[in-house]
Subunit: 355 residues, 3 copies
């Protein structure tokens, strides 16, 4: 089969194993969503999987979360579609609608029923190197060529990916998933922490003084704390603290290629999208969102529920619940007003200015 003939239906069996099928009754019960309108076969049909609107079949479940895709809803063959109340009447007649105020959450729950997370397969691969003074729960899975040094503690049912290196003294809670090629040092992890491949956690921060003959490194003697349910994306980097700790608060999620400087302290359920960077000693409250490629200077404070837009350059404190964008950062409304004003003014100067 050539690559052009690849089947693009999700859940390719080469990579994923599927659970189910599930009855509608079970799915309604598990998600709390409401079935409407009832279809004749609602009691007997078994749903075998999930798929996007454009490829789903009559025994598959799909969802609509972005009104941009309403044209696809009109043509879907999905047997069941998860939608918000506003779109319930847009679901085609041949499909049932599973209505909920949070379609994406119901989709998450149903998708997880069909594709539950892999569990740890207890055991240490014979090629891994484990220091005799490491303490590893027997339920932990350690993959090929992992390196686990002295006085590391790893709690139950963790998965330690191939080629990952865990340095002396690192503490890891339960049910954590550490990807491949991760570097982990000077760190304490809570439960259910997920680190994707190539994440670098705990290296020295970028700290040095200027001496007579060049730069002089400053020992970085803090650590990294990743609280429960934190996720860190592929190839992201989190420096350990210089004299305090770098702390990523409970439930926060960092995307790929994110940089976190030393001493950064982040509250609960923050989101940091790919290629954003947070400089040293900056503090984030809870539920802060930092969009892609945004950058924050050091030693500032971002209030709870603040949202920092993509590519934003933040040079001073941001108040709770505010939305900023631009470089330097300003309120969303002001930024777009400025942009529109400048475009209009420059355009109207055309006759006079062009040469």
């Amino acid at each position: 089969m050539s690559i052009e003939q690849e089947n693009h239906h999700p859940g390719d069996s080469r990579f994923f194993s599927k659970s189910g099928p599930y009855t509608i009754e079970y799915l309604v019960k598990e998600t709390g969503a409401q079935l409407t309108p009832p279809r004749k076969d609602v009691d007997t049909v078994e749903f075998s999987g999930i798929a996007p609107l454009q490829v789903a079949t009559s025994t598959e479940i799909s969802f609509l979360d972005n009104k941009r895709y309403l044209p696809l809803l009109a043509e879907t063959k999905a047997g069941l579609v998860i939608v918000a109340p506003a779109f319930a009447d847009k679901v085609p007649e041949a499909s049932a609608a599973l209505v909920t105020s949070n379609p994406y959450l119901v989709w998450a729950k149903i998708a997880t029923l069909f594709y539950p997370k892999d569990k740890a397969k207890p055991g240490v691969h014979p090629t891994a190197y484990i220091h005799p003074d490491a303490v590893i729960d027997p339920s932990v899975e350690v993959q090929p060529f992992a390196v686990i040094m002295n006085n590391v503690h790893i709690g139950k049912e963790c998965i330690i990916g191939a080629h990952t290196v865990i340095e002396q003294g690192v503490q890891i809670g339960e049910y954590c998933r550490i990807g491949n090629h991760v570097s982990l040092s000077h760190a304490v992890l809570g439960d259910r922490v997920t680190l994707y491949s190539g994440a670098r956690i705990g290296q020295d921060g970028f700290g040095f003084a200027v001496g007579d003959k060049g730069f002089v490194s400053i020992p970085q003697i803090g650590k990294v704390v990743l609280q429960n349910d934190v996720e860190v994306g592929a190839n992201s980097t989190i420096d350990r603290g210089s004299v305090r700790d770098t702390i990523i608060g409970e439930g926060s999620r960092l995307d790929n290629l994110v940089q976190i400087g030393h001493n950064v302290q982040m509250g609960r359920c923050c989101i940091v999208v790919s290629q954003a960077g947070i400089s040293g000693s900056t503090q984030l409250g809870d539920f802060v969102t930092i969009a892609a490629q945004a950058g924050l200077i050091g030693h500032i404070h971002i209030g709870d529920h603040a949202r920092v837009g993509a590519q934003c350059g933040v040079m001073s404190d941001v108040e709770a619940k505010s939305d900023v964008i631009g470089s330097p950062a300003m309120p969303f409304k002001e930024f777009f007003k400025n942009v529109a004003f400048l475009r209009r003014m420059a355009k109207s100067s055309k006759g006079k200015e062009d040469n």
Copy 2:
């Protein structure tokens, strides 16, 4: 020898092995470029190598592709210089000119004659871990500590770098080159695909719903398709699809530290320069160029042959063949007009505004 005394002539024999020498007749035949003016010894001289204008000798070949370097052309000792027709008469008398409308392409061809790509040295290094259910062509080279899991297929004459991890079910075509420390999962690769060191391909996209107690992950059940001749730079990250596939089209090239979100679909021969990022579900046509550090939001479409400038922030569709820059993105001309207008206006307000 101290590091200050390093020889900066290219092709250092510690790192490169050189083919040749080649006669001018052979080089002309292989490249289709035209020799002018003929030199007396054109039939007998053998060229032994290539070098930049400033260090090339009389048996070496050089090239001029950027008029910025014309002063170097005037002083070169190179025996042969590849140039565009416009610069043919600028080549010094002691050198011959190899004239072509595409000097950089001819340079590529000649450089490849002297420095052909390494071929796979068939065999699996004894330290590698190969799952018994992997299917690997006997011509493949597998370097130390590579990990290849069950049901992976690898076609002929591929090179799998040291410490690379290839997860269950991954399909790799022929003549692919996978660097060191690569993580590769949930992926199907065509022929002649090149992945540089530290690339992360196929991990979960950044997809989660907001639940009562925090974020809820959404199983990501698509895959990554890298079509023929795709190249992915060092430490770049390509997330697998959520419900569709993430697709990088034939011949496209991604530089280092690039981020590609889930479900991105890229056409043929696109270029994505270092540290650029493309958010989930965005689609690129063919021959699109995304310059360094540009960022594209999700769910938009970039037309064929469009060019997105460095650091550009793209928040909406871009038409085919258009050039955009700025954050938010606008046409090149408008952007630079706005910049010039603002600078002029702010400057002229100097007397009144300064305090």
Copy 3:
């Protein structure tokens, strides 16, 4: 102990081993700083460690470098505080003040006394793969699963981290520290070079010509030279030269996730902060600072002591000693004047423009 109860005092003994204690006499002698005012017990007290102002105890040393933290100075319990002359009289009565014109440098020196760098523990881990033609000083430490290929030379007392791959012909000076998971090829390193985990040094630059059927790679036949005392951050990427060398000058420091294109030549003691990128063939003088997320196009020159601001987009040469910011780059003063002017003008147009 749950993660919430973690002790955030620096120097956690699970990760760090501490030297000392030290007398004030010794510290004054080692640093050249001046003790003032003298305390009664100055001759007899021994200082046992270092800590930030808010947690330091009477036998610990702290420092103030940023006036933002003056409120913490007023309340500190530290026995000794390193300060600039201007703040000497702000040190609480119960503390002694160690006064110096460069508090951060004195802090670096004292911190290094308490936490000296780890020394190489001579020996090759039995799981490492060393090619028989590699030449490694017997004082070198080689950690698990490192791969060192033919004709690599490594000088005395280097540390080669777990899982690092050093390709054919690479030359490494003395006292270098190579982190985990580093890829190192086509490179010559001076003494005391530090590479953090996941750094990719020496891969092909992003060089290709446009042919009839797609892109044609150009062999990259230069190398990477990292001079003495260079540091490269985690997951940063430095491409080798195409026909010249990529050179990072003595004492320069690159932060995490930095991209350096082929043929870049950087002078002495430059600083490149995280997520910044420098395109091919650009040259930096000495003591240049490139702030976070800045981007430089190729083939330009940045003068000595120039400073490029965060997120700056540099499209042309920058003069020595100048400060630029913005995208496109302009002088600091002009940039902020433009920003202020636009905000004011757009605001004053409010009545007329809003709809």
